[in-house]
Symmetry: C2
């Protein structure tokens, strides 16, 4: 393994291999390599972090691929972090997605990296947050974080992006129940993809209604935008890129960007803490396995047993 | 609120409203109501817990609806727990899914309940595990836990089902990379749904290969089964129900069922512990907000700061 400082220097000069190895190192933040992230963070904070979420099938990867091109045309360097959820059925579609973006693989100004779950709660988010700092230092102007928008650890990271783009499509969003359930609450920009489909108008109008409602409910002066696209046909991409730029201006001027940067880093620290706590819990659970199994037989006193485990874990880390 | 003992008695007599209220109570296990779960668990352990996972679009809900009927025809009472992930784009499809199963809503021998994320890591699994105990006591023979198979907390619960059914469909599973990534490792039974589609043969053969490979890799004498279905057309459902019954015999005879019951309950205790630990962490993070924000500015000493937070959390709970 090369010296991390050396990797940083080479990555700064555009060496993608060096950057790749640096990212691998950042996948597992530990007491030993924490200084590498410290070093990177001392120079970061400039990039625009864009979270893009949408269910499988909503055309996310095609849209992102188009968006990469639009950003490249403006001269931006673009990094994409794809969150690969732990999935027993992680399918051809996810594999295919990455392929779809590979048209950009030979572009020196584009870097695509996927982060897979490492079996630890919050592990994905932690790795992604660390990688954001690295891409930032390496001069990537736009850092797109792609998630499927399902599951705690995946949506988690959305809360700390500078700009959140929620992808929907005809037939998916036009459900008043979805609104009631408060599921559309996080978007700064809503995209109705596949808007060439005949039922798109209804979804679009519905999303306008959602945006309107949210503008009222939220603090701040940003009113969520709704953009119609057809990623497959390449329609609406420029409008989307412009909407994203407009939101960037907003978060910059409102001081929201600085706030989100600090929130992102605070969240990174929290995830390091979560990992340490859950690691200690695992150890205690193993050591107390016999006692736990005994209680599991009829569950008598299970709550006290859980609290005893908590106490032992607390002692271990304090 | 009625007396929980009263709810249990009424639920045992088939009062669905009482059972619903009991489940609501179990959604939030606390020191105060832990005795209710203890009480239930003292009588549970008989039911067959079936985890069914598959990506959105794989036809899960239609398949489950068919399966409910097949089980009902055999005289079984059936409960379904639908895990609703926190999703910013939790879509019409998920809402629609529940509707699809509603044909069984008036059947006294069927109970469908969805569990939504409450913003706590592992919260969904905890609620679902508690509900399993209740359904068990109320005489539900088959307890189907449906997840979208994405995200830590959702796949989590799969590890503690008696029988795990993984749903795939043509075009999704026939990717050798998916196998390499080890994503097909958990199924006891693989279902190739939508097998009326022309490309289904390839997927079926691929899944046979997966099953073969897994039979070699795993301990135990169970060789994963591969079943072709078309839930929409109602094909292969009886075969699937029979495969599930065959697996039940296997886990019973091998002692695996008893082991999975204990693992399930140990996991429940662990999740109670996780919740307590993370709750304390949240508190500490809030109290130390100023210090954390300061460190977040340039991240100098962020790892030590995280460890300091861990120590404070440990002290709080020990």
């Amino acid at each position: 393994m090369s010296n991390p400082l050396d990797l940083i220097e080479r990555a700064k000069k555009g060496d993608k291999r060096a950057l790749g190895r640096l990212l691998t190192l950042l996948e597992e933040i530990s007491a030993e390599n924490a200084w590498v992230l410290e070093r990177l963070s001392s120079e970061s904070g400039r990039a625009h972090v864009i979270g893009i979420t949408g269910m499988p099938g909503s055309g996310k990867s095609t849209l992102i691929s188009r968006l990469i091109r639009a950003f490249r045309d403006k001269g931006y360097k673009v990094a994409v972090i794809t969150i690969d959820p732990t999935s027993p059925i992680s399918s051809g579609s996810i594999m295919g997605d990455r392929v779809r973006m590979q048209e950009h693989a030979t572009d020196a100004g584009v870097f695509i990296r996927s982060v897979t779950n490492r079996g630890i709660l919050g592990g994905v988010s932690l790795a992604a947050l660390a990688m954001i700092e690295a891409f930032d230092v390496m001069g990537y102007d736009k850092i797109i974080v792609e998630t499927v928008g399902v599951g705690q650890s995946e949506t988690d990271i959305m809360n700390v992006a500078d700009t959140i783009v929620v992808l929907t499509m005809p037939g998916a969003g036009d459900d008043v129940q979805a609104l009631k359930a408060g599921v559309f609450e996080i978007g700064d920009i809503y995209v109705v993809n596949k808007s060439d489909r005949p039922d798109a108008v209804r979804t679009y109008e519905y999303m306008l209604f959602v945006a309107e409602k949210e503008a009222l409910g939220r603090g701040g002066s940003w009113k969520p935008l709704v953009i119609k696209t057809s990623a497959a046909l390449g329609l609406g991409i420029r409008e989307l890129a412009e909407a994203i730029e407009r939101h960037l201006s907003y978060v910059r001027e409102s001081g929201e960007k600085e706030r989100r940067l600090l929130a992102r880093r605070a969240h990174l620290m929290k995830l390091v803490a979560v990992r340490a706590l859950l690691g200690a819990l695992e150890e205690v659970m193993r050591e107390e396995g016999e006692s736990v199994s005994k209680v599991a037989k009829d569950m008598r006193g299970f709550y006290d047993e859980a609290m005893r485990i908590v106490k032992l874990t607390g002692k271990r880390v304090s």
